[in-house]
Amino acid sequence: MSTANWDLDPSMESTAIVQLQPKYDLFIGGCWQKPKSGKYFATYNPADESVLSEIAYGNQDDVNLAVEAARKAYNEVWSKMSGAERGKYLFRIARIMQEKSRELAVLETLDGGKPIRESRDIDIPLACNHFFYYAGWADKLAEAFPGQKPTALGVAGQITPWNFPLLMLAWKIAPALACGNTVVLKPAETTSLTALKFAEICEQAQLPAGVVNIVTGHGDTGAALVANQDLDKIAFTGSTAVGKLIHKACIGTSKKLTLELGGKSANIILEDAPIDQAVEGIINAIFFNQGHVCCAGSRLFVQESIASKVIEKLKFRLQSIYVGNPLDKNTDIGAVNSKKQLETIEKYIALGLEEGAEIFQPTCNLPSKGYYCKPTLFTDVAQSARIAQEEIFGPVLTIQTFRTLEEVVQKANNSPYGLAAGVWTVNGARIFGLSQQLKAGVVWANTYNKFDPTSPFGGYKESGFGREGGRHGLSAYLQFKN
């Protein structure tokens, strides 16, 4: 195997377009309000550890004020407005997001560490399109659920993760508003800036005060939101452990709940697969967004007859993966989102070695400042190994082999998770056969990590319940009277 020299001249995206304030307050009832806690915390650029801004640290009082504002907006304005009018606001928001897409993309990369190519071509367009898609549903809910008399739930509390900050905000807010709810959203503490920019967009769109409220903070701010007794709905995307705590807090209340949690998704390569395409698919499945993807194809299953060939090609391909400054348009893998997450990933890599798996990492230079991790393959991985069972949420792939389809179905389903799966084969009947057997909410056949506003997304088993996207995604924010 040769080690190619892939040194490329940097092609840096300018950050001049991003206008940041030194300090951000909470967006409650249509105004920027100082936190009752009096506290602020710094948000960092994980690519170089520099401080980007200071953000308000909301507490229970702040959360309660935001829920009151959302309730008032629901009772007095949003629940009385026609679906068509609600839809117009969402269309308007979608358009402003499109107009500001470049600023949003650069900011998403600065705050979260993801490659500019991904925030520019995937995160931001998908977020805009999500608003555009759900805008059109706002006046067609009766047609979406014939005979079931759908109505809004009321006020929704929403908690989003740090891996796709604005996109996850769109997945939460767009269907909630389209269905006639008002919301209080708590973004992840490391990636709040695009949510705060979104609040500015709501202002510009003249969205009625209190329909969208953004309360920033840490985990205790989220817990305070879940604990508020005047919410009708909780929507959470994040870890399975936190999801279970939220679930517990909702028992005995009338809060409707949807959870989109972790995964350890199987990506299955059959011996008749188009191998070069499959190798690209494997790379995209695990290294997209530094592997910070709940549906990442983190468990690779290769049929034994082609295993050595696939692994050899993968190792060669890894040499040309460019890890570095996320603002560089050459970058394939940017910065890990936070120091804490980098430590988690490194802990798992050490664990893999302890468990006796064989590691492969390409030779490449990582920037001296910031949080970076080399793309990592593990072979000789036991089914029971923790690196093959637990979600790592980083650029770490475990590789296992199989002989028969029956065997791979058993191995793939042998996980508490059930979010996604990949199948690579040219045999159509086999795609459908495997797809039916795999316990996962999304199956990508001869592709991976594709998302679309029209396509329902969500898991089986401990990957959560409820769907986001498509007509199915509306149900999470409606009640039915029949």
Binding site: A445, D452, Y460, N482
Partner: protein, 291 residues
């Protein structure tokens, strides 16, 4: 002399006694002793879950049309034996009119859900117009093994209204029957056993809800729960909390099962997962509109 019936459990298509060898006295509404029922144990629950899991694959793999025929067959068998069920209810202290109404609505509910077997999929599936060159569709799939706490207010209509929409969609069930009035449910299992419902699809246990529900709710190989509200709601909340460990989907039912609103497609889809499948579409040059 009258021959008295022994009421046992229904597990895997058989009528075993509880492995614990225990029983409890079931009385009529007026307090007259009626029969001894099995006081099932936690071990019985674990056995039933194992059997239900084993039966799930083949039941889910049957065609929807076939499941429809089988559920309709239940209606036929119940119709043929309705006299027996009405007598049993009247002995338990129900008025003839009430007993008659209950059994007739049970038969109606079987016919209703038989008809749904091969139709709900078309109403909740979708082909999604994604903005890329992919064929993308979403379809329902059964969740797997469902634990059921049957309605504790009615002898049979609640039980039937809960289990039919769950099994019609390809799931299998382990049911805790009405604790005070378990006899009709066990007699109904005789109908199931003669209706081509494969053994293990429906498993029914009688006994103490307080003792059995926590075991069913915490079992790691149960995918979902259907919980009818009972007088002891803290027990239901406890079950919901136990269900969190493996994120069982939990349905809380507050219906009066005699009403028409206690049936509907949503009772089926509450126990279906939505799976979305993507596949690339090859773009063929010059193909568009060329016919």
């Amino acid at each position: 002399m009258e021959i008295l019936k022994t009421y046992k459990l229904y597990i895997g298509g058989q009528f075993p006694r509880t492995e614990s060898g225990r029983s409890y006295l079931v009385s009529s509404l007026a307090g007259e002793p009626l029969a001894n029922a099995c006081l099932a144990s936690r071990k019985d629950i674990r056995n039933a879950v194992q059997v239900a899991r084993k039966a799930h694959g083949a039941w889910a793999a049957k065609t929807a049309f076939n499941r429809s025929q089988i559920i309709y067959r239940i209606a036929e068998m119940l119709e043929a034996r309705k006299g027996q069920f009405i007598d049993e209810l009247s002995e338990a202290g129900f008025g003839m009119e009430e007993a008659n109404a209950e059994i007739l609505s049970c038969i109606d509910r079987c016919v209703y859900y038989a008809g749904w077997a091969d139709k709900f999929q078309a109403l909740i599936s979708s082909v999604n117009p994604v903005a890329s060159s992919h064929f993308n569709f979403s379809t329902p799939e059964p969740m797997g093994v469902v634990g059921v706490l049957a309605c504790q207010n009615t002898p049979l209509i609640g039980f039937i209204s809960q289990i039919l929409p769950i099994i019609i969609g390809g799931n299998t069930v382990v049911v805790l029957a009405n604790s005070k009035m378990p006899l009709s449910a066990i007699s109904f299992c005789e109908v199931l056993a003669t209706s081509d419902v494969p053994g293990g699809v429906v498993n029914v246990l009688t006994g103490s809800i307080d003792e059995l529900l926590p075991t069913l709710a915490s079992h790691m190989d149960v995918n979902a729960l259907s919980l009818a509200t009972v007088s002891n709601m803290p027990k239901v909340f406890e079950a919901q909390e136990l269900a969190i460990e493996n994120l069982k989907r939990t349905q809380l039912l507050v219906h009066d099962f005699k009403n028409q609103d206690a049936q509907g497609m949503e009772f089926i889809t509450d126990f279906q997962e939505i799976k979305t499948t993507w596949h690339p579409i090859e773009q063929i040059a010059g193909g568009a509109g060329a016919y």
